[in-house]
């Protein structure tokens, strides 16, 4: 089956307190998004990457693509007003029956094992959404205060959110709604059951300065393992 990875890098990175959007910050001398692209290029020889970037950063995107292992496997396209619109712009280039990964550009530590397990689970069940259990107590804010929930039932959702192409394409033909916070919520709106698979604690999302420090060290230990 053909594979596409839609890598969403359209964020502005305000939370980092830097003028550079976080997907362009350097990790071991390369932009975060470069590491993310490489993770998918290494997962499958025949994968196509659709890189979604904000208009202002198209030139930066082009330069980064040229430094990857397979620039001719990567298409660059513009992001939209929200994540929904960015992903919608990205998937319009998918015309073959395929498995589609939608992945946060700032989760550059995703492992080959997780990409492969999402692929197989989505082949079998139509979709595969990686999730991990919470190690902390969780409360939900309500109108009159807040309410504890059973921690064993709380799943923290990651990416790549992975779908058979017909499912994601038909879901993104819907009109936009504010309840669409991720791709799973868009697909679920069509009555499709969301299939959670085991995620990875190390598959972190780099949103704050401390995450960058964590990522540096995870990456170092990953490199020493693969060369050891």
């Amino acid at each position: 089956m053909k594979k596409y990875a839609v890598i969403v890098a359209a964020g502005s990175g305000l939370r980092m307190g830097t003028s550079t959007p976080k997907q362009f910050l350097l990790l071991h001398g390369k932009p975060i998004v470069w590491h993310t692209i490489e993770a998918f290029l290494h997962a499958f020889d025949d994968i196509e990457i659709i890189l979604v970037m904000a208009d202002d950063y198209m030139d930066t995107g082009k330069k980064i693509i040229q430094t990857t292992k397979s620039p001719d496997h990567i298409r660059l396209t513009a992001g939209g007003e929200t994540r929904f619109h960015s992903v919608k712009n990205g998937i319009q280039y998918i015309h073959h029956p395929s498995i589609v990964f939608v992945h946060d550009a700032v989760r550059c530590l995703v492992s080959q094992a997780l990409i492969h397990s999402c692929y197989h689970a989505a082949m079998e069940k139509g979709n595969a959404i990686p999730a991990i259990k919470s190690t902390d107590s969780i409360r939900i804010e309500k109108e009159n205060g807040n309410e504890v929930v059973d921690r064993n039932k709380v799943m923290i959702i990651q990416t790549p959110q992975t779908f058979q192409s017909d499912i994601i394409k038909s879901a993104f033909a819907q009109d936009y709604s504010e309840i669409f916070t991720d791709e799973a919520s868009v697909v679920e709106q069509q009555g499709i059951k969301i299939n959670l698979v085991e995620g990875e604690k190390t598959n972190i999302k780099i949103t704050q300065p401390i995450d960058l420090i964590i990522a540096e060290h995870l990456l170092k230990s990953k490199i020493s393992k693969s060369s050891g």
Copy 2:
């Protein structure tokens, strides 16, 4: 107002995959729980610490106490079957009207600022529970699958869970229930409204090897800031 910190170190640390419970693993040459004790000793000159440890580790506990800045401010007591029983054992030594912090031994990076803000909020409102917003999408597992929740309403709960002494003592006089996953849930059971305060992303719980790496680096940056 008098202050007590009940530091709960009765866990077995199975998740670390080490034979040493995680609260005794070394960070910058000192056990994790040593760092935690020091954080509270430095927060207030007049604080008393009640250190709750599993029976098998009482000798280890005694040795660690001797290496802290104020061994005579620390009482060591045995843990119970569950966290509820451990905390209940700890708070029996509190006889003065006071503010009581209940804190995970493995959250050794708690800041002075957070301890102080919990103190003031609990003085004013009876209780103060630190919490941070989730940066990831969250789903709750249900009988027939799972359901997305509004991420802006999901609060990840931390410690020190902080209470006026009469409130926590009367709550822990209740019979044990399986729904008691933290001190807030015990107090809430008595119809008391839980008061969330802003926690800290760096106030991490060391439960897995990766957390230890993260803690090493956070501690290093904390030390370089305080000496800089």
